[in-house]
């Protein structure tokens, strides 16, 4: 669309700018401020330069959290995106079941995150939770509060439960907006299942899928509440992802300097990875 140049448009954007700037810039400056100072808890601060950044970047603790975070994010993307697309493909396109399906599927998205954590905690308890009880009855030695592997399994299963629907809804919306003529043309051209998916459905879903991948990437990278209620980062530190670690340092130990430096590094990683994702997916589209 041809846009006209109009500097007065800034007036329309101004309220948004003011509100977001108030919430983004002042706290960000606070974080930057902490990240370059040292304090001994008596409200006196000393300039410390990039000391905290060096400390965080070199700490094994940060490396471990970052590694766990990446593991978590890529696992859930690898499961939720294909699963979401597959479910969207098998959903009915019209009929009385469509709204029923959509409403039920959207339900997990609107449950407060700590309730999601609490619900899964109850659900997975080895003695009285359905999941834990059934797994143990089937002969698996399952206890997510004690075994790191089980904790990971439960965490990922919870996230799949919680968020796959977002991918389903976005993919489904992309699918139903494909005009019938495409399917008819494909039928006439003799295209079958995979070819239809590859050449019609996937290209037409591209935009919504880009949004789905970006949202899932960003949100999974920021996961805090559900994970902290479910496992609290444990057992040990086995499920301590970045946000959980950050809160432990900032609020638990009150190490403001390292916490602030870590916050900034954390934020920059998300920005960088989102940008990489975005450009990769968009370049693919243009070439």
């Amino acid at each position: 669309m041809n846009k006209t140049v109009n500097q007065k448009a800034w007036l329309f954007v101004l309220p948004v700018f003011v509100l977001v700037a108030f919430n983004a810039i002042i706290p960000l400056m606070t974080v930057v401020n902490y990240s370059v100072q040292e304090t001994f808890g008596d409200n006196t601060f000393f300039w410390s330069g990039v000391l905290w950044f060096e400390e965080v970047l070199n700490s094994e603790r940060f490396h471990d959290s970052l590694f766990r975070q990446l593991m978590f994010t890529f696992s859930i993307l690898a499961i939720e995106i294909p699963l979401g697309i597959a479910i969207a493909l098998t959903m009915p396109r019209k009929g009385p079941w469509v709204p029923v399906c959509l409403v039920l599927m959207a339900l997990p998205l609107l449950i407060p995150w700590n309730v999601v954590g609490a619900m899964w905690n109850i659900f997975a308890l080895p003695d009285i939770g359905f999941l834990g009880y059934v797994l143990n009855a089937l002969g698996f030695d399952y206890n997510f509060t004690r075994q790191p592997g089980d904790a990971w399994f439960t965490l990922i299963l919870m996230d799949v439960w919680h968020w796959t629907s977002l991918v389903v809804l976005l993919s489904y919306a992309g699918l139903v907006s494909i005009p019938d003529a495409y399917y008819q043309a494909a039928k006439i051209d003799g295209a079958k299942g995979w070819a239809i998916f590859r050449h019609i459905q996937l290209p037409k879903m591209k935009r919504v899928l880009t949004i789905a991948v970006l949202l899932r990437f960003m949100d999974s990278f920021m996961i805090y509440t559900e994970a902290s209620v479910l496992t609290g980062g444990g057992p040990g530190n086995s499920t301590t992802v970045l946000s959980i670690d950050l809160v432990k340092i900032a609020l638990g130990q009150f190490d403001l300097g390292p916490a602030a430096a870590m916050s900034l590094i954390y934020f920059l990683i998300i920005l960088l990875l989102s940008w990489v994702f975005y450009t990769l997916m968009m370049r693919n589209e243009e070439s």
């Binding site: 005009p179 003529a181 008819q184 043309a185 039928k187 006439i188 051209d189 050449h199 290209p203």
Partner: protein, 358 residues
């Protein structure tokens, strides 16, 4: 390559059609000869797209059957009927190049790569796309995309019929002419049956050798453009084709002769079997003229409006509250008062309940 026969086709989109009006297609019996250029013409909602989808196999009719030559194809899906279709909105596979788009129908059918290549290049030349084979189909303009859709039909050698569903809807006006004459030219080159669905009479009449006119779910007339113009079988055809359309004037019958405004009118057909039906005289404005001052008879009228249409003028006259239009050529005089109209008896016909009395 086949003759297509539609035998007693009826279709309804409702679960339980009760009234006659519930049927989108009331009753269609038609034969399409192999290699013909047909147009399916009618106003929006007359059932033409439904009929098209039934032929292509995208829809299965409630009643009746479709034969390709002598084979009953009614239960077959589109890909087994060997048909091609160009849709109203261009359908191209965005992610593929022009070449891959054209090759797609052949590759899906497992044709060997050498043949695919040969066919694609041949067809690309037909549709003037040889120089753009490597481009992404997504970047083409609407007319380019429509050519690709058409090309995907032409590339297959087994195609019985190519169907066009209002293919020029999204094309820029100045390119419409170009694409239409391209289609005509292609038809002469490939000699495939083509069915062109449209609500635009100019498109239909310029493209087709034979036009099928539909209204309210039925076929009202099949004929060459000249037949449709000169001898409409239904007042709808007379009205829908031609600009301005045919004059349709309610009349009475006296002793087997139609009477209009108290005067007998000479007609070209017979007024038999018309008892109890509502009667109308149909005559095209082209066949109405003013009577000369010395001629006897004629229908006395008042002139209410004259509009200039270039080479001729359209004159609107009133007679007994009814409007009669006629065309007056350049340089001919329009009488100021006491005007009387003369109907050409060879092109004046009587219609009973809309249908030509026979």
């Amino acid at each position: 390559m086949a003759k297509i026969t539609l035998d007693g086709i009826r279709h309804s989109y409702m679960e339980n059609p009760v009234e006659e009006a519930d049927w989108a297609l009331k009753q269609v019996d038609l034969t399409w000869d192999d290699g013909g250029a047909y147009a399916l013409l009618g106003p929006s909602g007359c059932g033409k797209t439904t009929l098209l989808n039934i032929i292509s196999g995208l829809l299965r009719p409630r009643r009746g059957s479709i034969l390709f030559d002598e084979t009953d194809v009614t239960p077959l899906p589109p890909d087994q009927r060997h048909i091609a279709q160009v849709f109203q909105f261009p359908v191209v596979y965005d992610t593929m190049t022009v070449y891959d788009n054209l090759a797609f129908p052949l590759r899906n059918r497992g044709v060997d790569p050498a043949t695919v290549d040969k066919r694609v290049r041949e067809v690309a030349e037909f549709i003037d796309m040889s120089h753009r084979l490597k481009e992404r189909a997504k970047g083409l303009t609407a007319d380019g995309k429509q050519k690709i859709s058409l090309g995907r039909g032409l590339v297959r050698t087994d195609v019985n019929v190519i169907m066009f569903d209002e293919p020029l809807t999204v094309i820029d006006p100045h390119l419409k002419w170009q694409l239409r004459s391209k289609l005509k030219e292609l038809h002469q080159r490939v000699k495939r049956t083509m069915i062109y669905v449209t609500h635009d009479q100019t498109e239909a009449l310029t493209f087709a050798d034979k036009v099928v006119v539909m209204n309210l779910g039925e076929v009202v007339q099949v004929g060459t453009p000249v037949e449709l113009f000169e001898k409409p079988h239904h007042t709808f055809v007379g009205h829908f084709i031609g600009s301005p359309g045919m004059n349709v004037l309610p009349c009475a019958l006296d002793n087997g002769k139609p009477i209009l405004a108290g005067q007998p009118v000479a007609i070209a057909n017979q007024a038999k079997g018309t008892d109890g039906k509502s009667l109308e005289i149909g005559i095209r404005p082209e066949f109405v003229s003013f009577s000369g001052p010395n001629e006897e008879g004629g229908l006395p009228v008042q002139i209410s409006k004259v509009s200039d249409a270039g080479r001729f003028r359209i004159v609107e006259t009133k007679c007994d509250g009814q409007t009669v239009r006629l065309l007056v050529g350049e340089g001919k005089e329009i009488p100021s008062d006491g005007a009387r109209l003369r109907f050409d008896p060879a092109n004046t016909r009587l219609y009973a309940d809309g249908w030509l009395a026979e």
